[in-house]
């Protein structure tokens, strides 16, 4: 039945277009939200009749080899949450019905593609679904059809093609040594010491592709442009989930099926992770556009994920996945906050803003929660994932990297405090005296995400035991 995660969104898009009309245009986003909520429900309240049911809805004619382990379930949950928020923000930020309809269709198709990435059991199929998400992202980035959007989409296409070349070369080498592209065949070929050299080259090439898709240094140049010029509902999707599902999830999957690679691969991950953390954080310090700062912050936070993967231990992988989950929640929330600020004030330039927390109390308060979580302040969710990453580094005697991870949190705090001071606190900026709080459509998603951030932090042991720790089993 897990094939329904791909088939239902696909069928929904076909149905929406078959019965296209004024009413369908209006409800397309709501329909998408319903699908994403159903996905979240199936993960949070797992039903054996769904997960253990091996019935193929397409009969024996069209067999889809899919599987769902603990990592897949966490990823499906993240995809569900972020896509729900993106659709909700889109529902309130697009005014034209046709634009809303096209947006909903593209996001639902990207949703199907992302579900495909995490469910497939074959590395070539993984690549096919990565391309589904990439093509949807190109179009979504330039949805406003302005010059900046086209330029960013073009930049993304070029870098994405480079990533594709790396990934395909890697797949070709893996096919060469395993005779098949299924995860099982690659896993058994990886145990053969005769193939160790080719395997390292293949993993190295795959890492280059994954880093480009994930926006890590030195392949990150597309990310700030794309995230800042895309509509906010798309920025949420890109920063909240696309970079993780297209870049980091495939990397985690390959590393786990091949046994984590050798020491040189681990060192590359540690170095790139550290450089990304620092470059992203220092670049964020110098920004005056809120979304651009959040985009550079994503580069920095993805660095933490890669740094954690570099330890090669079960705890490192658990920390990486937990930080990806937390980042998808608080970064979506911070982007939604920026959408509310832009909608009410008409600008994202921090130099033109100031003191708006008194006029927009919900936006101001939730942005503080998001900020505290991303900076790793206890007891919020971000604190726990960063703590696990630091412990994983300490356990593997990477003391220097652990020190950098802690120091970079202070830099994160510095640029987010600067954002808070320039946007929400102090005297109200000239011309903004009469602004009001954003409407419910923009407030409900940020409040929901802030509640998730707080609850994950407070009920950390439950979340850890039920959802995150089982991810470590994929190494067994």
């Amino acid at each position: 039945m897990i094939s329904l995660f791909i088939l239902v969104p696909l069928a929904s898009v076909i149905l929406l277009n078959l019965f296209k009309g004024s009413l369908i245009n209006k409800i397309a986003c709501w329909f998408g939200m319903l699908l994403t909520l159903a996905q979240v429900y199936l993960i949070v309240f797992p039903c054996a009749c769904f997960w253990n049911n091996l019935t193929n809805p397409l009969g024996n004619y069209f067999i889809l080899n899919l599987s769902a382990d603990a990592l897949t379930k966490v990823m499906l949950l993240m995809i569900g949450i972020v896509t729900f928020i993106s659709l909700m923000i889109g529902q309130y930020t697009y005014h034209e019905e046709t634009q809303k309809f096209n947006f909903a269709n593209l996001v639902i198709l990207a949703f199907a593609g992302m579900n495909g990435i995490v469910l497939v059991t074959d590395i070539f199929s993984l690549y096919v679904f990565i391309e589904v998400v990439a093509v949807a992202s190109f179009i979504l980035i330039c949805l406003y059809k302005d010059k900046a959007g086209f330029e960013s989409a073009f930049k993304y296409i070029i870098l994405s093609i480079a990533a594709t070349v790396f990934i395909l070369l890697s797949i070709a080498l893996l096919f060469l040594i395993s005779g098949d592209t299924s995860f099982a065949a690659i896993s058994s070929a990886a145990k053969n010491p005769n193939f160790s050299f080719i395997l390292v080259v293949a993993i190295g090439l795959f890492i280059c592709g994954a880093f480009t898709k994930g926006g890590l240094v030195p392949f990150h140049s597309w990310l700030p442009d794309a995230h800042s010029s895309a509509p906010t509902s798309i920025s949420i999707l890109l920063s909240g989930i696309v970079i993780k599902v297209s870049g980091l999830y495939p990397l985690i999957r390959l590393l786990t099926i091949t046994g984590g690679g050798n020491e040189s691969i681990k060192n590359i991950l540690l170095i790139v992770g550290t450089v990304s953390i620092l470059v992203g954080a220092f670049a964020a310090l110098g920004q005056s556009d809120i979304k651009r700062m959040l985009a550079f912050s994503s580069v920095s936070q993805m660095g933490y994920v890669v740094l954690s993967l570099g330890t090669g231990t079960t705890l490192g992988i658990v920390g990486a996945v937990f930080h990806m989950f937390n980042h998808s929640v608080f970064k979506s929330q911070l982007f939604a906050n920026s959408a509310a600020v832009e909608k009410q004030t008409g600008t994202r330039d921090m130099n033109k803003l100031g003191g708006i927390a008194q006029k927009m109390p919900f936006t101001g308060t939730t942005s503080i929660i998001g900020m505290l979580s991303i900076c790793g302040i206890p007891p919020l969710a971000g604190f726990w994932s960063k703590l696990i990453i630091v412990i994983a580094l300490w356990q593997t005697a990477h003391y220097g990297y652990a020190f950098v991870a802690v120091i970079a949190s202070v830099i994160t705090l510095a640029y987010f405090l600067s954002l808070q001071r320039r946007v929400f606190f102090g005297k109200i900026a000239v011309g903004l005296e009469n602004i009001k709080e954003a409407k419910a459509g923009l407030i409900i998603p940020v409040v929901l995400l802030a509640v998730v951030t707080i609850l994950v932090g407070i009920f950390f042991p439950v979340v850890m035991n039920k959802l995150i720790m089982p991810v470590g089993d994929i190494l067994k």
């Binding site: 696909l10 096209n102 198709l109 593609g113 495909g116 190109f138 040594i177």
Partner: protein
């Protein structure tokens, strides 16, 4: 002279022609030539299925689409072509030299390795591979096609509407 080496040199020249040309028609022809070279190499590597796909889709269909699209585009004047060619040559003069150098270094560094390679799927027809073994990929391609259709609708239909209004 080794045929493979000759094919690789022509492949590289065709690829350079594609990226360095200022006329998009020549770039499209360069791309078609690159695809034809890849096809021949695939046939020589005993991979006729991949070769047929490369020839029909990349060298055939895509080139036809490119050339049809280019016929709608306003051509550059001779002066514009001269200016752009000079600028591009100046900018990318080092590219062919760099490629040749990398090639020489790689040939010198990489030594042939002998490993026992597992037997891959052989002798299966396209129909068997696509419909019996790669059904999930077909589903992915259906979604890509749908996304592409939406892309065209989103990016071009409104532009057409605006043009009609004017």
């Amino acid at each position: 002279m080794n045929y493979d080496l000759l094919l690789l040199i022509i492949l590289m020249l065709a690829a350079l022609m594609t990226v360095l040309s200022t006329r998009i028609l020549i770039a499209a022809i360069g791309l078609a030539l690159t695809s034809i070279m890849i096809t021949i190499i695939m046939f020589r590597l005993n991979s006729p299925l991949a070769g047929v796909f490369e020839l029909s889709i990349c060298a055939g269909l895509i080139t036809v689409i490119f050339i049809s699209t280019i016929s709608f585009v306003k051509p550059l004047t001779d002066q514009e072509i001269d200016d752009r060619t000079k600028l591009r040559m100046k900018k990318y003069l080092a590219l062919p030299v760099l490629l040749i150098l990398i090639g020489i270094i790689l040939i010198a560094l990489i030594k042939p390795i002998s490993i026992e390679i597992p037997v891959t799927i052989q002798g299966l027809s396209v129909r068997e591979i696509l419909w019996n073994m790669r059904q999930i990929d077909l589903l992915g391609q259906v979604i890509i096609l749908l996304v592409g259709v939406f892309g065209i609708v989103v990016l071009f239909r409104d532009i057409q509407k605006e043009a009609h209004k004017k």
